[in-house]
């Protein structure tokens, strides 16, 4: 009976029967333990709790038996009681609903939802609310973002030099898969399994393939394999196992039982996995846009594929022709760097990647007596002076059954070589001869029109030929994608190939209707066992490290992986009920987001250096239940949220604070500050503006006009993380983020005070309450409180609000500056014959900072043409010179001062003119990376005459920015009057009044207050 009930908490929707718990907490727990299946014994490092199997713990007995609502509470309460503390009173209902709604959806409840919840007095009112929230698609958008921090998600690759496209193709298909998986409550073990090996765990499920974005959306590290793999190992082990395995890249882990060999065991798994771009739709819908897309895509893909194949063939042929040189290079391996971009390589150079491929190829033939390379290895082992003697001896002995050199090798060394250089040269000649022979055979067949042979007749010759031609030949560029095999090409070819690949990528990235794609991993061709890199340096190889799971977790019976790369086996070892870390890490992460801190406060490090869990028995109880309950994250949320511990108020408890200042014992509910996403999304939500379109391509969020989509759909560009994300502690997308920092810096407040985004939300809020509460100031204050804080204002707050709204509008005081009518901002052309400006037209658009062609800059028609108070840029052609015009208000004599300046060094500079409509050119300058005084001592003008300050592109359009702030001053006899381009500059007089109106300013303040930013 009781046993069943214990399990039901995990299996039902979590409406825990309180009375039963009350009656029999202790009994339940004993039975729960008895009920569980016996665990497999495993011998692991038991000295550290987290490596020991998850214990079967029982909720302890407590004194205050009426408080617990479920077993979680027994664990919490027992510790409180042991410390002489009491839990806090239950939270007030509105606060509780607000807490739950933020926790599960990252958004506040609506006032109507809050009212309904307050009105619902049923005992399961809160449980129903939790169910409703868990069913909301907003749940996946909130918790998906947490997982994206773990997965170091970004839509871009990081620094890519100028080679490849800097955006990932459709990284968002991974983001959307995560959101969907969470909304569907995909069992967590399956969730992990698919992210590591969907290609093998669910090969037929196309959508699931996107899950492997977890591995592929990391930084590109300029294509350096070792670093890409290191990043993958790090994200997998810290993210899924709470283990810092990357520490073992260079040395055995200092604290945890992770030898370097384990790191390279995982390294081998990922090294043997190659990237592949796949379409997530089997047969794309035949819409018109689609077929246009398909046509373009297929054409570009074909160009790339053809070129790539040609380059591979050419490159392999060239490598074949230089087999002797590559063998000679083996004698000087230190002269060839490991992967990296440190040299520009041409087709005259030996390619280091081939040198390494030869190295690996030969070293695989080190054991036994390889017919071709046995001699090579033998001679490599003897001292330099003894090569000659050793070669003779080897060949004279080599008639034994075990040692039968290839006949060609034997023939090549019939006279003993003097040294290794000669050995390499003779092997080289040998390969060259076989290569020539094979070509002759092919040519002969072609001439006769015979079918091409597939090999040579003599087994000894064929053995050599195969070394040059089979797919695993050291002369052949492996048939993997460019991301995996680029290092075999010359620098120019790599650039050209990436350019073509970039064009393919960009069709996918930019075409709105493009079929969704995903970058996935597949197992590559079989590879030799990985070897340890001594001190992390790829050039110094240590012992072999078979592809296998971590020794600390796999125990002494560990067996090397046997299927392909071993990635699926690795995935199973991680997503396993027997893995002591996986479930603990998962429940600890979920706990952390509900309570602000994990039971272990280092969510990605449960190693020996982590502080012990605050409630170890609870952690294990949750982890076991999580696994036996089918790895359901939603059940875990239900369980946690239906506990009394979760439903406590955040009331201050001085006794508890004194004893437990960090609130590890949870004597009160820890208040949480909203993260960036919750704050931004909530502002949109309370203003009634949140666009809940789900999924799809990433959206730019940080420039006007501002997107109103949820933050999770914002573009994450790891190369240019916007300032606002940085100051709000957004997860650094360059690496796995265990938990975000929580800093308070003034730049956050500057954003809230001054950013147009926040002001726009205040305006929308004000408009909303004005619409709903016409005319009545008091009802507007109340409406704002209800929308933003879900409550009535206190009498004082109401009074303060009404007082604020009644006071004179302090934002009205400055009168928007109007541009003196003498100035005009336009474009035109200098007519060389007449020395006048022709075709003058006003620049049509004011951006707030500059006059230009349109909101889009550069504009389609007027290009780069632009004028600010102090600077500008000519349009792209001579007819679109930038013209700052001054119209004389009366008959007047003026002087002109100013400096015209062109700073850039590239390009050919600009031409600048001062032109009077009456007198023509008053001054002209050709400027390139220089400046000139543009002064005119005196010019007489009639009313309506114009003075034009003109800049055109000169010869060509390139780096034509200029600075010029002319000043015009009237000369005696009139009193001096000054027109200064900078001081007078401004937008059109009809521009919208930018200042916040009082109600908007008031709404703005309410959005800034702590009550909005914190969740009790």
């Amino acid at each position: 009976m009781t046993c069943k009930m214990g399990t039901s908490m995990w299996q039902s929707k979590g409406h825990v029967v309180r009375s039963a718990i009350k009656a029999a907490t202790a009994v339940v727990c004993v039975m729960l333990a008895a009920c569980a299946a016996p665990t497999k014994e495993r011998v692991v490092s038991k000295s550290h709790w987290a490596f020991a199997p998850v214990q079967e713990t029982q909720p302890p007995s407590v004194k205050h038996t009426t408080w617990p609502r479920n077993p979680i509470d027994a664990f919490i309460l027992s510790k409180l009681e042991a410390n002489g503390l009491k839990p806090a009173a239950p939270a007030e209902k509105r606060a509780l609903l607000r807490r739950a709604t933020y926790d599960l959806t990252g958004l506040p409840p609506t006032p109507a939802e809050a009212d309904a919840f307050v009105a619902d007095t049923a005992p399961d009112a809160f449980a129903k609310a939790v169910d409703r929230l868990l069913d909301s698609p907003r749940y996946g958008e909130r918790w998906g973002r947490y997982w994206l921090d773990v997965a170091r998600y970004s839509d871009t690759k990081g620094y890519v030099y100028a080679r490849e496209e800097r955006f990932w193709v459709h990284a968002h298909t991974y983001r959307d898969w995560v959101i969907r998986a969470l909304n569907d409550d995909l069992p967590y073990d399956r969730f992990l399994l698919l992210q590591l090996a969907a290609d093998q765990a669910a090969p037929k499920d196309l959508n699931a393939q996107a899950a492997m974005g977890f591995l592929t959306v990391g930084r590109r590290f300029l294509g350096v394999t070792h670093d890409i793999i290191d990043d993958r190992i790090d994200a997998v082990t810290r993210g899924m196992l709470g283990l810092t395995v990357s520490c073992a890249r260079c040395h055995n882990h200092k604290y945890d039982p992770i030898p370097t060999a384990d790191y390279y065991s995982l390294y081998g798994v990922f090294h043997n996995s190659v990237e592949k771009m796949i379409s997530l739709e089997p047969a794309p819908a035949r819409t018109e846009t689609h077929s246009a897309f398909e046509k373009e895509y297929l054409a570009k893909a074909k160009t790339f594929a053809d070129t790539f194949a040609t380059r591979r063939d050419e490159t392999s042929a060239r490598a074949r022709g230089r087999a002797g040189d590559y063998l000679a290079a083996q004698l000087n391996l230190s002269g060839f760097p490991e992967e990296g971009f440190d040299q520009i390589l041409t087709d005259k150079d030996l390619i280091p990647a081939f040198v390494r491929r030869w190295r690996d190829f030969i070293s695989q033939r080190e054991r036994g007596h390889d017919p071709v390379f046995g001699l090579w290895h033998h001679l490599r082992r003897v001292p330099a002076g003894e090569v000659e003697r050793a070669a003779a001896a080897y060949l004279s002995q080599s008639n034994s059954a075990t040692q039968k050199p290839n006949l060609l090798v034997r023939a090549a060394f019939i006279t003993p070589p003097k040294d290794m250089a000669e050995v390499a040269a003779r092997y080289g000649r040998l390969f060259a001869e076989v290569e020539a022979q094979w070509r002759d055979v092919l040519d002969a067949a072609r001439k006769k029109g015979n079918p091409l042979p597939t090999g040579l007749a003599s087994p000894d010759v064929e053995e050599i030929r195969r070394i040059l031609y089979t797919p695993d030949s050291p002369c052949v560029v492996p048939d993997t994608g460019i991301a995996n095999n680029e290092s075999f090409f010359t620098t120019d070819q790599i650039e050209a190939l990436w350019k073509l690949q970039g064009e393919v990528d960009r069709v996918l990235i930019r075409t709105p209707g493009a079929t969704p794609h995903a970058l996935v991993l597949h197992d590559g061709p079989a590879e030799p066992q990985p070897r340890v890199f001594l001190r992390g340096k790829p050039a110094s190889k240590g012992d072999e490290a078979p592809r296998q799971f971590l020794s600390a977790l796999a125990g002494p019976q560990r067996k090397p992986f046997s299927q392909g790369s071993g990635r699926l086996e690795l995935a199973h070892a991680i997503a396993s009920a027997d893995n002591p870390l996986t479930a603990r890490v998962a429940v600890n992460r979920i706990w952390r987001h509900h309570f602000g801190a994990g039971l272990v406060r280092t969510p990605s490090d449960l190693g020996t250096r982590a502080e012990p869990p605050s409630h170890p028995e609870l952690l294990d109880w949750l982890a076991r239940g999580f696994v036996t309950g089918g790895w359901s994250q939603k059940k875990l949320h239900r369980l946690i949220m239906n506990s009394a511990a979760y439903q406590q108020s955040g009331t201050e408890n001085p006794a508890a604070l004194a004893m437990d200042p960090e609130n590890r014992l949870l004597a009160t509910f820890p208040r949480q500050r909203m993260d960036y996403e919750a704050l931004r999304d909530s502002m949109l939500f309370v203003a009634g503006e949140l666009d809940e379109q789900r999924g799809g391509r990433p959206v730019g969020m940080h420039t006007a006009p501002f997107s109103t989509r949820r933050s999770i759909y914002g573009l994450v560009d790891r190369q240019f993380v916007p300032g606002v994300l940085r100051v709000f502690d957004f997860a650094n997308p360059d690496m796995h983020c265990p938990q975000r920092s929580a800093t308070t810096v003034p730049q956050q407040s500057l954003f809230l005070l001054n950013s147009p985004f926040v002001a726009a939300r205040a305006r929308a809020l004000a408009a909303r309450v004005e619409r709903d509460s016409p005319g009545n100031v008091e009802s507007r204050v109340r409406a704002l409180y209800s929308a933003i804080y879900l409550r009535e204002p206190t009498a004082q707050q109401l009074a303060a609000g009404m007082e604020f709204l009644a006071a004179p509008d302090s934002n009205l005081q400055p009168v928007a500056k109007t541009v003196p009518p003498e100035w005009q901002y336009g474009y035109g052309e200098v007519n060389a014959t007449t020395g006048r400006v022709t075709g003058f037209k006003a620049l049509p658009y004011f951006s707030g900072e500059a006059w230009q062609g349109s909101a889009v800059y550069p504009d389609d028609k007027l290009g780069w043409a632009k004028l600010t108070g102090t600077s500008g840029h000519p349009g792209n052609i001579l007819a679109h010179a930038a013209v700052r015009r001054w119209v004389a208000p009366a008959d007047v004599a003026v002087s002109i001062t100013g400096t015209v300046k062109h700073e850039a060094q590239p390009g050919d500079g600009i031409r600048a003119f001062i032109i009077s409509s009456g007198q023509g050119v008053l001054g002209q300058w050709k400027l390139h990376h220089t400046q000139a005084e543009a002064a005119v001592a005196k010019v007489e003008l009639r009313k309506g005459d114009t003075l034009d300050f003109v800049v055109d592109i000169g010869g060509t359009l390139s780096h034509d920015d200029f600075q010029w702030t002319p000043s015009i001053q009237t000369l005696a006899p009139l009193a001096a009057q000054i027109w200064n381009a900078r001081a007078d500059f401004g937008g059109p007089p009809t521009a919208t009044q930018p200042w916040l109106r009082p109600l908007e300013a008031y709404a703005h303040v309410l959005l800034l207050a702590n009550e909005f930013a914190f969740v009790d």
Partner: protein, 481 residues
């Protein structure tokens, strides 16, 4: 988290021992031994976020330097054309060096003597090439390290190494570490500011990333070609409220927050957020002031000269004067000093950009009594070959390829001995041979001058205590006054 150990470092006498009381200092050192990150800042950020992470803090021990201005000559300036004279190149002009050219990114050929003239300057007789005539007048302030070396001859990893101490992994930049260690002396300004005219250098903001440190320590990048404050610092001015209107808003905000705080008095985070609005309000004025060089007297502006480098150097002085901790000035977008071709014309022009402003800065800081507490660093990510770079057809490009084997960086002020050269490259300036100084050594030295033991200055991340200097680094004591 224990606040007393962050002590106020506003006192900038540069002479007195640091005013840290004995117990708190001892406590601090104990904690640092564990790694500051483990107990110090991690606590600060998580347990009691009431403290602004930029609150000023004391280092491990007294440091002569309180702040840093770093001129980054991105692209790689040539040592043999600037601070490392090599007469032997003239002897070998047009001929191959007596040893094989070291492997660099591209192919290089014969010895390529400098087209510039070196002369000895100051009482010390420190040789400087004639492309820095005004800077030469300050030779007695400079400690030139002629034996710097990096790891590879490519910009990207070398930029990462010089700026972040690791050529591959994303690690916090020097400026982030320094700001993390010392906080900012002025809460109304960002602590770590990066000035770069015209856009980003290559590797973009990776060069000033906070890495695994909190975002607050990331460099704030300012495109110094702008003169408009709004473009210089994001959200620094309101476009929707007047100063008066904003004050009224903040007044109401204070009342609302006080109401809210009453029943939540022990939560420091609420107070921290309240304070951050006050700081933000003041930052609006302070930043406007700091970036407005028109407030400088004419003779000071004239001293720095014209152009964007003069402007950004003067801004740097105004920033450090107002308490910014680390200011990095880049030469410009891309890699201006990367002179594979025509090094004579290009280096001359680039040096002219910097010569007057840097000389003026040294003089200006000195006259303000700030030079001894301000560390100036001047150098690029690597140097250039003493041999001429070749085109594919073997013709000379009259320029030099990248060279990580040996290059020069100079330091001045902040406790550095002036008028000296340390270490040496070989006869031709290709490779550091005498007393080689690695980038980690340089970082160790910078941290030491600021009062940090680089081996104990750590941050716990991903199971390890990370250091700026990784597992190496030697303080170059010989250049310390």
């Amino acid at each position: 988290m224990n606040l007393p150990l962050w002590t106020d470092t506003m006192n900038d006498s540069g002479r007195k021992p640091h005013p840290v009381t004995a117990p708190s200092r001892r406590e601090f050192l104990t904690r640092c031994g564990m790694g500051m990150g483990a107990v110090g800042l991690a606590g600060l950020l998580n347990a009691a976020p009431s403290a602004n992470p930029l609150t000023p803090r004391a280092p491990h021990y007294f440091g002569r330097a309180k702040r840093v201005i770093h001129f980054f000559l991105n692209g790689g300036p040539s040592q043999v054309d600037t601070f490392d004279p090599k007469p032997a190149l003239a002897t070998y002009a047009g001929k191959p060096l007596p040893f094989a050219n070291l492997r660099t990114e591209r192919k290089t050929g014969a010895a390529f003597p400098t087209p510039f003239k070196f002369a000895q300057h100051g009482a010390s007789g420190l040789p400087i090439s004639d492309i820095f005539p005004k800077l030469s007048a300050h030779a007695d302030e400079l400690a030139v390290i002629r034996s710097m070396h990096a790891e590879v001859p490519n910009h990207e990893p070398s930029l990462m190494l010089m700026n972040c101490g690791d050529s591959v992994q994303s690690r916090p930049s020097v400026g982030s570490w320094v700001t993390y260690g010392l906080g900012a002396e002025n809460q109304n300004l960002p602590g770590f500011i990066v000035l770069c005219p015209g856009g980003f250098p290559i590797r973009d903001s990776d060069n000033w990333t906070a890495g695994f440190l909190p975002g607050a320590f990331q460099g704030t990048m300012v495109d110094s070609q702008h003169t408009d404050l709004d473009k210089l610092i994001e959200n620094i001015r309101s476009r929707h409220a007047t100063p008066g209107g904003q004050q009224r808003q903040l007044e109401l905000l204070r009342r609302l927050n006080a109401d809210h705080q009453r029943a939540r008095a022990t939560d420091d985070r609420l107070e921290a957020r309240i304070q951050s609005f006050e700081l933000a309000y003041r930052m609006q004025m302070e930043a406007a002031d700091a970036f407005d060089i028109t407030r400088e007297p004419a003779h000071i502006r004239a001293m720095y000269g014209e152009g964007v480098h003069a402007r950004q150097t003067l801004i740097a002085r105004r920033l450090v004067e107002r308490g910014a901790r680390f200011v990095q000035l880049w030469h410009g977008a891309g890699q201006p000093w990367d002179n594979h071709d025509n090094i004579e014309g290009a280096h001359r022009k680039l040096a002219r950009d910097l010569d007057q402003p840097v000389a003026a800065l040294l003089a200006d800081l000195k006259q303000r009594g700030m030079l001894e507490s301000t560390l100036i660093i001047f150098g690029g990510e690597f140097g250039r070959t003493p041999t001429v770079e070749l085109k594919n057809d073997g013709q000379s490009r009259l320029g030099r390829d990248h060279n990580h084997y040996g290059f020069s960086v100079w330091l001045a002020g902040g406790g550095v001995k002036g008028g000296m050269a340390y270490g040496a490259t070989d006869e031709f300036g290709f490779k550091a041979e005498e007393n080689p100084v690695s980038v980690h050594d340089l970082h160790a030295t910078i941290l030491h001058l600021l009062g940090f033991d680089h081996e104990r200055f750590t941050y716990r991340y991903a199971g390890r205590d990370f250091r700026l200097t990784d597992v190496s680094g030697r303080v170059v004591k010989e250049i310390i006054a």
